[in-house]
Symmetry: C2
Subunit: 357 residues, 2 copies
DNA sequence: AAGGAAAATAAAAACGTTTTTATTTTGGAT
DNA sequence: ATCCAAAATAAAAACGTTTTTATTTTCCTT
């Protein structure tokens, strides 16, 4: 909105008609003046501005939305599961929303959030947003290998940016992490430290990035001339509970893992909790490498080695890309894949108790 | 929206005019039929339903919003600070939004989120929401002792529910925690365990609940016939970093605290991190009592005693109250103050190293 | 068949703003 | 003073839906 008139006291909500009565100009002239159209004389514009300030006029979003065909909303699908004990559910979402919101600051756009509970819910929400004109663009994450939302939105030419990539060869705006690389790098570090029994704490395989992380895990072993211990790939709901249960289950195995590669802070906290309960020590009995959206592993005891990509940065990029997409920019130019930064806090070899390879 | 017609394939977005052309009925009749008005004959209604289904008609939200004067949005102000190292910023917000969203499920309302960075930002956002018809109701937290948002919205008779209470005697819908009671209970437990040097890790005093928690802290000491160690009340931004810094600073004092009462999981994690760095043990050198929105203290090592109130429940209540407020219900009937549940995981007396009183 | 009332449907208006089209005003040239 | 073009402003239309008012249809009674 080009005009943000400072609010002063007023009684009923003023409309353009109110200003027309005050100034004697037509509603068309007033609308153009407030939009800073060059066809309105400067003296006329000043009179109109003054009147608007006097009554604290604010353009009504509903009238604008209907006339312009734009809701001026960027919708975000925020996943929340119904899983019990999923306390850390979507914890990084606040930072994601913050980043998106930063990108929208100073523009005409506001952010709306649609909570979704599963993949079908997400597809339905996307459909509804398009059909009912609820927003002018859409951002969503938790991308499936075959994601119906992407199919729908590409077909409708509806502006969107996905956080992650599906496994179809489609042209759409996206922001992603190089998950294959991150899992590879974490696993390779542990192999170099001497580990052979490495567990991968991973999301469910229907999610695109779960597959990517498995690929990176397996590649690290292959490049070291080793067989990947695929029975040590745990798939779950990413909760702290899942992380804790995984470590407790796996450490009961005869050939128990000596290291864990975790997908997020939540599962990392669960792994630490399980180790604490079993009287095991990070860096002594087991090594752990985390992945951080919000750099919280620095505060674990002991501080944990992690691959860190601030998710707020991703959020900001998502927001920027969406604004450009809604302006009509080609989706092919709106793609970025980030590599997280390694923050080494542990030596990856049980403090020297493992021979390095 | 009374009618959710199942989507089938279609080309341009169908409007009521599309259906009028298909059926021969007027747009007024079609609108009434889809709204299930009793003045439309059943046979007519069935014809219209069939046509709508056939083209996947969905009412356009913009047209509805303008005509009805309702945006069908419940706005939430979500606070995000610009503080460096505030990784856990708003972590409980995802659960709050989830709760609110649950309350809105199955209703006509959608949730929009407005990120705010400080109190002035929040007041401005509230003003804008009212003035521009951006939402039909508002939810916000982080209530100041004197909160301009509450003043404004009460004066405008705009529907809202606050998460927390200001210190003015105004009549408005709210959901809150009994923070005075929770701080009192936590402090009293530690006093009963023999602690006298107790630190309160607290938010800034301009926030209403910060004052409440200080009151509870002081009352516990007074009731034990003791002077409260007010120099051990730390005020900060609630970050993990603040919690860590507080414990490191306070443990350097000559008369260092032997116990900490923390305001949230974030500061608790920071306190644990600081203790880890100083080689101190929870339950041996220092006792810690947390406050949990998302029950994550169970996963800390060792598991921490906490007062737990699932914030998703608060969120749901916020959502329910707002719906009722928007229906015109009296704000006096829409108030609830929750007492968190104690989950004892530590004995509060340094494992017996303190004499009980 | 005529009359009256209720049911059903259509026409008109409304919501607030922007954009398109039409008209008026202004300024400059002759 | 007249004419023309550009600038400025007003009138009309548009956006999609709902609600109010007007009209038509249906049904029942006499």
């Amino acid at each position: 909105m080009a005009t943000e008139i400072h609010r002063v006291r007023r009684t009923p909500t003023p409309t353009i008609k109110t200003l027309a009565e005050m100034t004697g100009y037509s509603i068309a002239t007033i609308s153009k003046a407030l939009r800073e159209s060059p066809v309105v004389a400067p003296a006329t514009r000043d009179i109109i501005y003054k009147a608007a300030r006097e009554v604290g006029y604010q353009a009504n979003a509903r009238g604008m939305a209907l006339r312009t065909g734009k809701s001026f909303q960027a919708a975000v699908l925020m996943p929340v599961t119904a899983a019990r004990d999923y306390e850390w559910d979507g914890v990084e979402y606040t930072q994601t929303l913050s980043g998106i919101s930063q990108a929208l600051d100073g523009t005409d756009y506001r952010m709306s959030v649609h909570v979704i509970r599963d993949a079908a819910d997400g597809a339905e929400a996307a459909r509804r947003i398009v059909d009912q004109g609820l927003a002018d663009g859409l951002i969503f994450s938790g991308i499936l290998a075959e994601d119906p939302r992407i199919d729908l939105l590409v077909a409708e030419h509806f502006p969107f940016v996905s956080m992650g990539r599906c496994h179809k060869d489609l042209d759409y705006a996206h922001v992603d992490i190089d998950n294959e690389w991150a899992a590879h790098a974490a696993t390779a570090r542990l192999i170099a430290g001497g580990h052979r029994r490495i567990a991968l704490v991973n999301p469910e395989r229907r999610l695109s990035y779960a597959i990517d992380r498995i690929d990176g895990f397996v590649r690290a072993f292959r490049e070291a001339g080793l067989d990947a211990p695929v029975e040590l790939i745990a798939e779950g709901d990413l909760s702290t509970h899942f992380g804790r249960k995984t470590v407790i289950d796996f450490l009961q195995l005869d050939d128990a893992p000596t290291a864990f590669v975790c997908i997020n802070e939540s599962t990392t906290l669960g792994v630490l909790s399980g180790l604490g309960s079993l009287g095991r020590q990070v860096g002594v009995d087991v090594d752990v490498i985390a992945y951080d959206d919000i750099n919280v592993s620095a505060y674990f005891t002991p501080p944990i080695t992690t691959f860190y990509q601030p998710i707020e940065v991703l959020g900001r990029t998502l927001g920027q890309f969406l604004l450009r997409r809604m302006e009509g920019e080609d989706p092919g130019a709106l793609r970025q894949v980030f590599r997280p930064t390694l923050i080494a806090r542990q030596p990856d070899n049980l403090g020297g108790r493992l021979s390095q390879s």
